[in-house]
């Protein structure tokens, strides 16, 4: 896959936008017992939407932001990259894939689009909640009783944030983004 300047900028801007939001989310809504967990992962609302608009470059931006933000508090280690960093790369891509397969419109024009959106968000959040906290368990960051709490909070924290933050962004801005020279949905 050829990488263009546009792709680099999309990734960099997405990461730059999501990085401070990730820092806020870690500080504002921490979950007792779960280091690096946030009860409302605000940046997810942004990088999910960026992924739907700009493909893998939006997801990469989310990945970089999460890794940099989490790493600052919880160490620049393989564990942090593997759990939150990778998880937040996989999650929006799962959502993007479901959208593409279902041929839904990111503008959320019909009821079907909304259903696909909600289902895609829930599935991707669950899959990645499982990923993240299994990695955490394997690295000994959390203990077994907290594994299921971790999965549940990830699922709720991410899906809530994506649905609450992401839905109005998709609804109001997709048309604007489609008119911008940066939009790549049709080219994926």
């Amino acid at each position: 896959m050829e990488i263009s300047v546009k792709n680099i900028v999309i990734t960099g801007v997405t990461a730059g936008l999501c990085l401070p939001l990730a820092l806020f989310a870690i500080i504002l809504v921490p979950i007792p017992g779960l280091p690096a967990a946030s009860g409302f992962w605000i940046p997810a609302g942004f990088y999910f939407v960026m992924t739907l608009w700009f493909g893998v470059w939006g997801a990469l931006g989310g990945h970089i932001a999460t890794t940099l933000a989490m790493g600052y508090f919880f160490g620049y280690t393989l564990q942090v990259w593997a759990d939150g960093g990778l998880g937040d790369f996989i999650a929006p891509l799962v959502c993007f894939t479901i959208f593409k397969i279902a041929k839904a419109n990111p503008e959320l024009k019909t009821r079907r689009d909304y259903v696909v959106w909600i289902v895609a968000v829930l599935i991707s959040s669950l899959v990645c909640g499982l990923w993240v906290h299994t990695v955490n368990l394997l690295f000994g960051v959390i203990t077994w009783p907290f594994w299921w709490i971790g999965v549940l909070t990830y699922f709720i924290g991410d899906s809530l944030a994506v649905l609450i933050v992401g839905t109005p962004l998709l609804k109001t801005l997709t048309e604007y983004v489609k008119a911008s020279p940066m939009y790549v949905w049709g080219e994926q």
Partner: protein, 272 residues
């Protein structure tokens, strides 16, 4: 004074003049050492060493002060997790939970140990990130044979994060001036207020993407094209020695723990 991403640091600071590759290697080494070492006493000594390093390397200690809150958050998260969810064997069990875990005399020591790991990572990272400039990230990652465009992307993320934080503050002020109450009692209303911040931030992000793309293309930036560099960051003998020592420290710690049972939990004086 020299400007780094987050603060100004004295020009004389030896850490500032460290080779970019060494800054990144040191960052990774501190984090890996924190991960490997399980002995609470050794971790405590390492934390003290990091604190002293702020003074020795002339990095403003006030930097740590800003993150006391975060440190507390980390400690509470870890403590709660291990107090409520672990089965650390010890000489005495103080309380058994209905779900099968218990609090022993070693539980608190272990919880403290885990908290110390994260604190070491947090403050070690703070020390090194405080002396990072954009060229350190770029040259450091490129020295590790990563493609330039990847290093540039990470650099862009850091740079733009401060720009977006300023945008966030301006938009928030504008909303307050139009009657928004960000301290609403209702969670739903609070969420709506914060969500509304998203629209202008996204619009600004999209506009910046287009302008920045044009600007970079005109400046000849092209991923994959070979380029030259203004600065010469050749590794000196001193740099090579330091990098060897850093890698050796990590390897040694791993070997001591794995094959000799040192640096393990609970370590002296808890194991008698």
């Amino acid at each position: 004074m020299s400007r780094t991403f987050f603060i100004h640091v004295e020009e004389k600071s030896p850490l500032l003049r460290l080779h970019p590759l060494l800054k990144i290697t040191s960052l990774l080494a501190i984090n890996l050492l924190a991960w490997i070492i399980d002995s609470p006493v050794v971790l405590l000594c390492a934390i003290v060493a990091v604190f002293l390093s702020f003074k020795i390397f002339k990095v403003p200690l006030a930097r740590i002060g800003k993150f006391i809150v975060f440190a507390v958050l980390i400690v509470q998260a870890v403590m709660v997790s291990y107090i409520l969810g672990s089965t650390i064997p010890g000489n005495m069990v103080y309380y058994r939970f209905p779900w099968g875990t218990y609090i022993s005399d070693m539980t608190l020591v272990y919880a403290f140990t885990m908290a110390a790991k994260f604190l070491l990572m947090l403050w070690g990272s703070t020390l090194l990130l405080a002396v990072m400039r954009d060229i350190d990230i770029v040259y450091g990652l490129v020295s590790m044979r990563l493609p330039y465009y990847l290093a540039f992307t990470v650099n862009l993320a850091f740079r733009l994060s401060t720009v977006f934080m300023e945008d966030y503050a301006k938009v928030r002020d504008a909303m307050i001036l139009r009657g928004t109450n960000f301290s609403e009692k209702s969670l739903v209303q609070r969420a709506r207020n914060y969500v509304r911040l998203g629209t202008p931030l996204m619009v600004l992000a999209i506009r910046r993407m287009f302008e920045m793309t044009n600007a970079l293309i005109i400046k000849g930036f092209e991923p994959g094209r070979s380029r030259t560099y203004l600065y010469d960051f050749s590794l000196t003998i001193k740099d090579k020695v330091i990098s060897f020592l850093l890698v050796a420290a990590v390897v040694l710690a791993f070997l001591l723990k794995t094959f000799y049972g040192l640096l393990t939990f609970p370590g002296w004086p808890f194991n008698g």
